[in-house]
Amino acid sequence: MNNLTLSNSIRFIGLVLLQALVLNHINLFGYLNPFAYIIWIFLFPIRKSQSLFLIASFLLGLSVDFFSDSGGVNAAATLFIAFIRLPILKAILKKSDFDYLLFNLRALSIDKIFLYITTLTIIHHFIVFSLEYFSFSDFTTIISNTFFTSIFTILVSILGILLFVKKK
């Protein structure tokens, strides 16, 4: 229990700093920066209190906002995917192999991990870019940014999870 709290706190701080100091400055092809800090949302255990999770994900987004001077854009998007995470997991995993107590992302099959991460990433990125551009006339830019940045984020997230998360 305590161990879990500690590892999640360290992951929180580590991902915010990684996002602010490294990932925000990658600029692949001139403009692509992955938002890989949402890995924290993917990996957060399910049995923990839901309200703690919502508040923590709001703070996660807000810390990234502080570093990248973007108002409340990341906070709004991160909070939203935190809220819809459980329904999406339920839909993807069906009833049979859904284990509340021992939720471990690595224990799932790779196509289910991929589907789960892809859905949440695309929703998150769409909210981020819509709030950032904040105008209907830039709709095509928002869509293209969402698409290309999502590919990059999904790639980084899956690689990060495969490399750094232990398979129990």
Binding site: L54, A75, E132
Partner: protein
């Protein structure tokens, strides 16, 4: 009463979500208006401190480019000095009359510790703040051109509203003519900005230099900005004038902060005139 409590417990996560989301959206809306984004910015102790640390490492790798820029500026200033010398050399004596000299602009130096240029609304963070006498709405330039305007201030750091921002409006004019216009950014690439409000009587050509106009009280007149890259002339109007910036906005090291010493006087006079 019981039903209210039942309702609250049943939807407590949704209500929490709603409250937090509204806070986040309030920050977002604040962020889109120029003058009110005071809370969420990187000009605070923690984020500024981190950027400062990282920058002191990165800076080492940029010494070469920084040196080159300084040498180029030195050459430019030396050329200006020598031009003056010719005029003075005819005089055998010089009278220094302090009432003839006055200072309108004061410059100070700062270092950019965080820079973004790929988003729709870009800002920079610099390592000077209220402790060194900075206030908001001061101009920020470097030796090759305009960077932006100071937005938020903390005691040791400030954020700069880059010219690559939706809220950025800079008064400019053409170097060879006195037609004024406004510089905005459409969010496409960080190398080009757009010029609007140019009167249709103005004759412009590709390659014309664009400099700051003296209309605003923030920048001195004549700071370089860029050259006209291309434009469309339709229905007797200039539609889209693209300006290629002299500055490489992706690599900015040291900047100069411009303080207009006569700004309050000018503002006061303009206000009085408007009220009459």
């Amino acid at each position: 009463m019981q039903q209210i409590i039942y309702f609250l417990t049943k939807f407590r996560y949704f209500l929490l979500f709603l409250v937090l989301e509204i806070i986040a959206l309030a920050f977002t809306i604040q962020y889109h208006s120029y003058h009110t984004s005071k809370f969420v910015n990187s000009a605070n102790f923690i984020t500024g401190g981190f950027y400062n640390k990282i920058n002191s490492i990165n800076e080492f790798f940029l010494l070469k480019t920084e040196n080159k820029l300084l040498v180029e500026e030195n050459v430019h200033l030396k050329n200006l000095l020598d031009k003056k010398e010719i005029n003075y050399s005819y005089d055998s004596y010089k009278i220094i009359d302090s009432s003839k000299y006055f200072q309108k602009y004061e410059y100070s130096v700062a270092k950019v510790i965080n820079n973004n240029f790929t988003k729709r609304n870009n800002t920079l963070t610099i390592n000077k703040g209220a402790n060194t006498g900075l206030t908001s709405d001061l101009g920020v330039i470097n030796s090759t051109g305009v960077i932006g305007v100071i937005k938020s201030i903390s005691s040791n750091f400030s954020t700069v509203l880059s010219i690559l921002n939706d809220n950025s409006r800079i008064n400019v004019r053409l170097k060879n003519r006195n037609h004024f216009g406004t510089l905005i950014w459409n969010g496409k690439t960080h190398t080009t900005t757009q010029l609007i409000d140019i009167p249709r009587q103005a004759v412009i050509k590709i390659g014309d230099t664009v400099i700051t106009g003296g209309k605003s009280a923030i920048f001195p007149e004549g700071v370089n900005i860029g050259v006209i890259k291309d434009f469309r002339f339709e229905n007797n109007q200039y539609q889209q004038i693209n300006v290629l910036l002299f500055n490489d906005m992706s690599a900015i090291g040291y900047v100069q902060i411009v303080r207009n010493l006569q700004k309050s006087e000018q503002k006061k006079l303009e206000q009085n005139t408007a009220n009459e």
